[in-house]
């Protein structure tokens, strides 16, 4: 039994409940036990722009809380992931920083030694559970679905710190998308930023980056863009909708969360996946799931093949 402390961060509980519910459902199906630690606070990501110490203390407090329970951390957000990873890296690297941080944490009876690991949901799915194990649990799969897989900056970079995948030619997320039967398309801007970090700071710039990226995805033939981070998803979903309602004529490229995509093939209830909760509708995707008859046919075909093989081998 795999067990993790679930780090939700600030954005998901407040603005993206479907990511939480779909992730919990998917991980439960795959036999992952999640522990909620109520005392968790902000990962420090937004504070890093303001004050380094405020950032590292916030991150370190979370790490210390998880360490106290002897649990590795699973994050759903890539910015949380990046921040916790960065803090963890720095604390391991610098004894004086660790001492300094622990001095403050001591006030609450906490301490971080660096005995735990921070993992993103996608790494857990890919490395801890494994593609084959997930395939074994799938109820159905997609056909004819084209997905623009969006990696998210803070998962990939700085690779020295996060070690998520090859930063220049990653395949981890593509494999996870393809296991659902969807095609993970090739697109030039796959590894670019979603634009969310500047939304609210420089909307015009943020908007340009987002639209450029989404236009590339669409041009490359994608039906949906798929993200596994609340910031990226909200940027592609709510913010895209806001931008497009402001007189941009383009048709949107809807965004689906990876746990929604995988959840559909695992047979998780659509309500739990919160398919209706996305701002830009995605329910059309259900039509691309293989129906029972098709699955039965496929199964029959596969069995026939097996039988043939067996016959041939017995002949020989």
């Amino acid at each position: 039994m795999m067990e993790f402390a679930l780090f939700l961060g600030c954005t998901i509980p407040a603005r993206l409940n479907q990511y939480e519910s779909s992730s919990r459902a998917v991980l439960k199906k795959l036999g992952v036990e999640l522990v909620d630690i109520r005392e968790f606070n902000c990962c420090g990501y937004p504070l890093r722009n303001i004050d380094f110490k405020a950032f590292i203390l916030s991150s370190a407090r979370n790490l210390a809380l998880a360490e106290k329970k002897n649990l590795n951390v699973i994050t759903l957000c890539k910015c949380c992931y990046g921040s916790l990873k960065k803090a963890d890296y720095l604390l391991r690297e610098s004894a004086s920083l660790k001492k300094d941080v622990n001095e403050t944490l001591k006030k609450e009876g906490l301490k971080y030694e660096g005995r735990i690991e921070v993992k993103h949901l996608l790494s857990v799915l890919h490395k801890d559970i494994g593609i084959e194990a997930i395939k074994g649990k799938m109820a159905t799969s997609f056909r004819g679905l084209k997905i623009a897989t969006h990696y998210g900056c803070h998962a990939l970079r700085p690779s020295q710190v996060v070690g998520f995948d090859n930063p220049l030619a990653p395949t981890l997320f593509d494999q996870l998308v393809e296991l659902t039967g969807a095609e993970s398309i090739e697109w030039a801007m796959k590894l670019e930023c979603c634009g969310a970090p500047l939304w609210g700071i420089n909307d015009q710039l943020s908007m340009n980056l987002t639209l450029k990226k989404l236009a590339d995805g669409k041009k490359s033939g994608a039906d949906y863009v798929c993200a596994a981070c609340p910031y990226c998803h909200i940027q592609f979903d709510k913010v895209q909708k806001m931008i497009l309602s402001n007189g941009n004529e383009n048709h949107p490229l809807p965004s689906i969360l990876y746990t929604q995509l995988l959840g559909l093939t695992l047979g998780v209830d659509r309500k739990v996946l919160g398919l209706e909760m996305n701002e830009i509708p995605i329910s059309g995707i259900e039509a691309l799931l293989k129906k029972e008859e098709e699955l039965a046919q496929e199964k029959a075909l596969a069995e026939q093949k097996e039988n043939k093989k067996e016959k041939e081998s017995t002949k020989q």
């Binding site: 803070h154 970090p197 420089n202 909307d203």
Partner: protein, 590 residues
């Protein structure tokens, strides 16, 4: 006479104060939406809203909220069991004492024909309810001063609340106890009610009371003759027992009476029961008259808040009602500190000393702001910073035992403060993501202003970038900058930059502009170079710093291993720190 006069005076003060306080709910302007709505519009809109709720299926929700959240206080239970026990003890005990004991003439006596405060079950229950309150108060003191619940701050109103309840309770118990031992009280009762005049009989009765009821008599001392006691018992049963159960049932008073019995005679001579009666009555009346101004006003305001927010739910409400609701919510806050305990960004306080970061303290500042008090620019900036330093995780709203929609309050106040025009550097951090998402809720013409002002304020501090003709001396290497850039031990790496411009080439922000230098000032490789030279003002004044996505493309691709993004992060930290120090000081000077 004294009782009546003081009761009426305190009632009059209470009601005038109550009307005044409730009127502030319609008068105080909390947020951007509130400024243009008249008091009468708000008043009638509220009445309309209440009526529409009552005469609709929502009445069921209202009743549910009343039972679960107002009466049973499930929201407190969900947060903290000990606190729920504390609150239930104080509130149930106090309410029952109020109804059964303080208003006994009107309520208890009309419900039960045989009511006397000195017979059971009433006598026992009064003491039991008193114990409830005292246990609650002890838990309250324990939580605040011994357990020291994290981030729970004690202000003068919290102390007053504990004090007034404690004085009422203790004076009540001591009043009961001193009356038990006081001989003159005994004498008065005998004169008025016994109808006995035979000295022998009086002596027997007195003996019985001294022995069994703890009365301290100046005439009698134990041991007392058994025959006299038997006679006394007979007399007691015929003339007293109808209205007096054994005093042991009033266990707190009786226990205290036993303790003070050695000085029983002196207590009586000093007329202590009379004095304590005044203390007890006056404490109650002071509590009543001052209630609308004290923390105790939450009895009314928190209930209203729970009912209102419980029925509103997720839907949008009319701007007039939102303004009223938010003014009322300021009174509903009990300063319990749950929000600060659960707040996501509390660790920021360790570095940025501003009490307004804590939600529970922020709300007090907003209260001062709402009542129209003149605040100094420095105070306003501190509130603004505190209100902006929020990751908008909604946790405070979810956990608030009074059901206050804190998130909406912060948002609204944030916009009002930003509109005042004091530049806030924090708007240039990802904390603004939420504001971007809420763009449609802001005043469109004011939306961009704070962002521009913040950039201008920073640029004003570091204007070197604008002086294109200025010749920079190559020797002015700022050692301080280099030593300042070592927060993460990685940002020092800028010194190995050999100017290949890979960072600038791969930067998606740079790539967005036709003429990037015009929009961004120094580009990433130039910032690295400026840092190397120690010319920090040039770097600080560049838009590039604030338009950085932190996507780490530059850092990942740098052939020299310069931590470009980390350097940018630290430059931002330094710039914000300096602007904060300088402009907060300049507002001080004003």
């Amino acid at each position: 006479m004294f009782l009546k006069v003081s009761l009426y005076i305190s009632l009059v003060i209470f009601f005038i104060a109550l009307i005044y306080k409730v009127s502030t709910w319609f008068r105080y302007k909390v947020g951007i939406g509130a400024t243009e709505i008249s008091v009468s519009t708000r008043f009638f809109s509220a009445i309309e809203g209440i009526l529409l709720t009552i005469f609709s299926p929502k009445i069921l929700t209202l009743m549910k909220v009343f039972v679960l959240d107002v009466l049973l206080q499930f929201r407190i239970l969900r947060e903290d069991f000990l606190r729920w026990v504390m609150h239930i003890f104080i509130y149930v005990g106090f309410m029952l004492l109020l109804l059964m004991h303080a208003l006994d003439k009107y309520i208890t006596a009309s419900l039960w024909d045989n009511y006397y405060s000195t017979v059971n079950p009433f006598m026992f229950l009064r003491d039991l309810f008193g114990v409830f309150v005292i246990v609650g108060v002890i838990i309250a003191i324990y939580r605040r001063f011994i357990l020291k619940v994290p981030r729970m701050f004690t202000n003068i109103m919290d102390l007053y609340a504990i004090l007034i309840v404690a004085v009422i309770m203790l004076s009540g118990i001591f009043l009961e106890a001193t009356k038990m031992v006081a001989y003159s009280d005994y004498k008065r009762m005998v004169d008025e009610y016994s109808g006995l005049s035979d000295p022998e009989e009086l002596k027997s009765l007195e003996a019985y009371w001294v022995k069994e009821f703890g009365t301290i008599s100046p005439n009698l001392q134990e041991p007392i003759d058994e025959v006299i006691l038997a006679k006394g018992k007979e007399l007691h049963e015929s003339s007293c027992a109808g209205c007096h159960d054994r005093l042991q049932w009033a266990f707190t008073g009786y226990g205290t009476a036993k303790i003070i019995s050695p000085i029983g005679l002196r207590i009586d001579r000093a007329h202590l029961p009379g004095v304590l009666w005044y203390v007890h009555i006056l404490a109650c009346f002071v509590g009543l008259a001052y209630l609308p101004f004290s923390k105790m006003f939450h009895i009314i305001a928190s209930s209203v808040s729970l009912l209102a927010n419980g029925t509103i739910g997720q839907e949008k409400i009319a701007p007039a009602n939102r303004a009223t609701l938010q003014a009322m919510e300021l009174d509903a806050c009990t300063h319990c500190g749950t929000c600060s305990l659960r707040c996501s960004v509390i660790m920021a306080f360790e570095e940025i000393t501003n009490m307004n970061i804590f939600p529970s303290e922020k709300i007090a500042s907003i209260k001062t702001l709402a009542c129209g008090k003149e605040l100094s620019p420095q105070e306003l900036r501190h509130i603004q910073e505190g209100v902006y330093l929020c990751s908008n995780c909604y946790r405070c709203t979810v956990v608030c035992p009074a059901g206050i929609n804190l998130q909406d309050l912060w948002f609204n106040v944030r916009e009002t403060l930003l509109a005042k025009g004091y530049p806030e550097s924090l708007v240039l951090s990802p904390l603004s993501f939420y504001r971007g998402l809420m763009k449609e809720e802001t005043v469109p013409k004011d939306y961009e202003k704070p962002l521009i002002q913040a950039r201008e304020a920073i640029a004003a501090q570091f204007d070197l970038i604008k002086k294109k003709d200025e010749v920079l001396p190559l020797t002015s290497t700022n050692k301080k900058l280099q030593s300042g850039l070592n927060l993460s031990a990685q940002a020092k790496t800028f010194s190995v930059c050999f100017g290949c411009q890979t960072c600038t080439t791969v930067c998606p922000v740079v790539g967005n502009y036709e003429n990037p230098q015009e929009a961004l000032g120094l580009l990433p490789h130039q910032i690295m170079h400026a840092a190397g030279l120690g010319i920090r003002d040039l770097a600080f004044g560049s838009n590039m710093l604030w338009d950085c996505l932190t996507c780490y493309q530059c850092q990942e691709q740098c052939p020299q291993g310069v931590h470009v993004t980390d350097v940018l992060y630290e430059l931002k930290n330094l710039a914000i720190k300096q602007v904060r120090e300088r402009t907060l000081q300049s507002t001080e000077r004003k």
